[in-house]
């Protein structure tokens, strides 16, 4: 049995302060002698540099369409605000593994049956205790087609009519089709838990607007301008959060947000333009946060349109991407090279495929076989995301060695009304997703962004069937084998040129501690896990 000192030391390591310990000593069943602590605990206090309190100022991109909803996001500003206000059932930790949050249990009993149990004694901002009814309500709200929420597609396997409440904290979900990725869907950054009856109609109006279980409560919010969040004193995670207040301030331009950080008017910014990184690096009072992610800017060839219809042309063009150069110049080195396969963070994907190299000679011979020796094509790109225009431009240079003339057209409006999905050869951008989740949104005939029109591929019926099998494969080894077979098709015959994956280039003040390198899709270690794991030092 561990001593009182050991127990308390552990509490300090988990973030408890001296005041917290004195207050909670009774509850822990411990008796303190005149408020003094043992040597281990005192040492732990000395180690923690955490200073409580203060106002953290975060500069967000965004605009007048910003909103706060526990179950929806569109822009990065919405992500940060949702993270601060609402907790999810589960989340991806910094190892890319699912970690339970509000859920005490979240598991696939079968491929088409899930069990959810929430933790006991968690409170919403309005004082109501979290029960399974809130989770059921959140799921049903997500699935309501009228609300157009982000998670509607990912949760669509759940049959809303057959959710069975087992007790106050537990329910069982029955799926209309097998989906072993459902836990991943619950861990996505847009999937919070809202209280029963939550139905905000807009800006803080409507029932229970802004009421979550998150570490911060919304004090005020003006879209396009600023939101102010104050510490939730009844937060369920020990000792968190550390700040008294978080201000999420909108910035319109790149120059102004970088300047705001340089002059100390904000404490953190995201997506520092590559050209400005050296300036931030040169400053002792600032820190760069550069985490590798699974975000990618593919060049997409439509497999149903000539000349890309011919698999030899697709293979040739893939050989004409000088990937190391594209990463070095297109991303200023802030990234790592790709192998025409997405989801690099998925433990079950991408294994055993030799790295594709730049090989103009082989490309030439493939094109000759295809009767396309003097190929001249147009590649449409857009300044939608860093690296898209740069990558396309360098690719066009690389392709010359293979005798291919690539005309790069920069169309700022390519993404309005999804015109880019119709172009035969275009650049796109994607965030981090695990393999099967990405297939659902980018590869299937039902996918909203099927840029390569992969459903026209000759072996697509088999690919689709494999996808169905993978969703039903609870056993990871078996699922991994199926995924490998699917990826083999993409690797050999696919229409995506995936040349690289991007790092985040965020920056923060050296006065702030607690950021951990996080391979997920959100910036700044999920905005310091919704600002609750970061603090002033």
């Amino acid at each position: 049995m561990s001593s009182v000192d050991q127990i308390l030391e552990r509490e300090v390591r988990r973030g408890m302060t001296r005041q917290d310990l004195i207050k909670r000593a009774g509850a822990l069943g411990l008796v303190l002698t005149a408020g003094s602590f043992g040597p281990l605990t005192e040492a732990a206090f000395a180690r923690t540099q955490i200073k409580r309190g203060g106002t953290f100022r975060y500069a967000t991109p965004g605009g007048p369409s910003d909103f706060i909803d526990g179950l929806h996001i569109v822009a990065k500003s919405d992500q940060a605000r949702r993270m601060a206000t609402f907790d999810p059932l589960a989340l991806f930790n910094t190892n890319g593994k699912i970690e339970l949050a509000l859920a005490e249990e979240l598991k696939a009993e079968k491929a088409n049956q899930y069990l959810i149990r929430v933790k006991d004694g968690i409170e919403f901002h309005n004082g109501k205790t979290l029960t399974i009814d809130d989770v059921i309500y959140s799921i049903k709200r997500t699935l309501d087609p009228k609300l157009k929420l982000f998670g509607q597609g990912p949760l669509s396997a759940i049959d809303p009519k057959r959710i069975k409440k087992l007790d106050k904290r537990t329910c069982r979900l029955f799926l209309s089709r097998p989906d072993v990725t459902l836990s991943e869907s619950f861990a996505q950054h847009y999937q919070g838990v809202v209280p029963v009856g939550y139905s905000p109609t807009g800006l803080g109006k409507g029932r229970l607007a802004y009421v979550g279980t998150g570490a911060f409560k919304v004090k005020s919010f003006t879209p396009g301008r600023e939101s102010v969040h104050v510490r939730n004193p009844n937060y369920w995670r020990n000792g968190q959060p550390y700040f008294d207040e978080v201000r999420i301030i909108n910035f319109t331009g790149d120059a102004s947000k970088v300047n705001a950080l340089l002059s100390g008017q904000v404490d953190a910014i995201i997506d520092v333009p590559y050209a400005q990184v050296p300036i931030v690096r040169s400053r002792k009072d600032l820190r760069m946060y550069s985490a590798p992610t699974g975000a990618w800017d593919p060049l997409c060839m439509r497999v149903d349109v000539a000349p890309y219809k011919d698999v030899r042309v697709r293979r040739a063009l893939r050989l004409l991407a000088n990937r190391p150069q594209m990463v070095a110049q297109g991303l200023s080195g802030f990234g790592h090279i790709g192998n025409d396969l997405f989801a690099p963070g998925d433990a079950l994907a991408g294994k055993g495929f030799p790295q594709r190299q730049y090989d103009p000679e082989q490309a030439k011979s493939l094109l000759k076989q295809a009767g396309q020796s003097d190929l001249a094509i147009e590649l449409i790109t857009s300044p939608q995301d860093t690296g898209m225009v740069e990558g396309a431009t360098i690719f066009a240079q690389n392709a010359k060695a293979g005798g291919v003339t690539v005309k790069v057209t920069d169309r700022a409006d390519a993404f309005y009304d999804d015109q880019y999905l119709k172009y035969p050869f275009s650049a796109d951008y994607w965030g981090t997703r695990n393999y099967l989740q990405q297939v659902a949104v980018g590869m299937l005939s039902t996918a909203a962004f099927n840029e390569t029109h992969w459903d026209a591929y000759e072996n697509y019926p088999k690919y689709k069937a494999l996808y169905g099998q993978a969703l039903g494969a609870v056993d990871e080894k078996k699922r991994g084998a199926i995924i490998h077979e699917m990826q083999q098709m993409e690797y050999n015959d696919g229409g995506l040129i995936i040349w690289g994956f991007k790092n985040l280039t965020d920056a923060y003040s050296a006065k702030v501690g607690g950021f951990k390198i996080d391979p997920g899709t959100l910036n700044l270690n999920k905005y310091g896990n919704g600002f609750r794991t970061i603090y002033f030092v």
Binding site: G63, S65, K148, G224, R225, S256, L262, Q265, V266, D413
Partner: protein
């Protein structure tokens, strides 16, 4: 109607006509932009059905002429509609931002107009001196720089890199007036002053030079008046007429210049709101701001013409 009143009334009516024409152009331009508010609100992942539903809710599926009619009839009753981005009344969205922008423009104008006039007059008086040549090179050089270059350079110089004496952006609290942030104002105001002073001073210099060579100035000199009295009493008032026109244009230009300056300094005015609203395809807000800026142009031009008439006896009497 005769005289100055008739002139003003006629010009006001013409101004209304201008505004009407501008409203058509503004509306047409916003319709021509690719994409719409529904797409911007729902983001990339939106399904076609959701988009159609939202377009219907926002009234974006109505015929264009009907949308225009609803907007323009609202404008006449003081109702600028609701923001498509967040549902707030446009007048509420504009409220504090309008105050911030007007404050910025007024301070910039209050500094740049007198400064431009004095600089131009002195340059003319000391024509071809070292002062005149330095001022000439400096003003022409500055006039060639776009505001964002000036703004960013000032921020690098005084805030982020060389000296750390001024804030580089303005971070305000809601409901707190702009006059509570004197330090934050220095760089945005300075940027606008640098943008406007060159034009005013060059025109002022040119017209003063011309006047200084005219017969009546020669006469004044022959009368034995001191050179500074000749300049400030006789030459400058006569040189002001063309300067008023340029100043009015420049002040109107300030209204556009704030779009860039506000973005560089993250200033919470209507300029940065315009940029954000275009991005969000929030047409009612875009239209309201564009119409406001057009209105400002009309009013400033009218004031300049009036001022020109008042300082030019020949024009003044011709109206009577």
């Amino acid at each position: 109607m005769h005289g100055i009143t008739g002139f003003v009334v006629r010009r006001l009516l013409l101004g209304l006509l201008t505004l009407f024409a501008a409203s058509l152009i503004i509306f047409g331009a916003t319709q021509a932009l690719p994409g719409d508010a529904a797409r911007s609100i729902l983001g990339r992942a939106a399904q076609p059905e959701s988009l159609a539903l939202l377009r219907h809710q926002l009234g974006l599926d109505k015929p264009v002429w009907q949308q225009y009619w609803e907007w323009i009839s609202g404008v006449f009753t003081g109702d600028l509609g609701s923001s498509l981005a967040n549902g707030l009344a446009v007048t509420d969205v504009l409220g504090e931002r309008l105050l911030y922008s007007s404050f910025l423009m007024l301070i910039a104008a209050a500094i740049s107009v007198p400064l431009g006039i004095v600089l131009g007059a002195v340059s003319a008086r000391k024509r071809d001196s070292a002062f005149d040549q330095t001022a000439g090179v400096a003003t022409l050089g500055l006039a060639a720089l776009p505001e964002f270059v000036v703004g960013i350079t000032l921020a690098v110089l005084f805030s982020t890199t060389v000296f750390h004496v001024l804030p580089s952006v303005i971070v305000t609290e809601e409901g707190v007036g702009p006059w509570h942030y004197p330090k934050e104002f220095v760089l945005p105001v300075l940027t606008l002053v640098i943008a406007v002073v060159p034009y005013t001073s060059r025109i002022m210099r040119a017209s003063t030079v011309e006047i200084l060579e005219s017969d009546f100035v020669e006469m004044a000199r022959l009368k034995g008046l001191s050179e500074s009295r000749v300049l400030w009493r006789h030459a400058v008032p006569n040189a002001l007429a063309p300067t008023f026109q340029v100043t009015a244009l420049n002040l109107a230009y300030l209204a556009g210049g704030i779009v860039v300056v506000e973005t560089v300094f993250n200033y919470p005015g209507i300029g940065s709101l315009l940029v954000e609203s275009v991005r969000a395809r929030d047409m009612p807000t875009v239209q309201a701001i564009a119409l406001l800026i057009t209105g400002l142009y009309v009013v400033l031009n009218l004031l300049a013409d009036l001022a020109t008439i008042l300082v030019s006896p020949r024009l003044r009497t011709s109206l009577e």
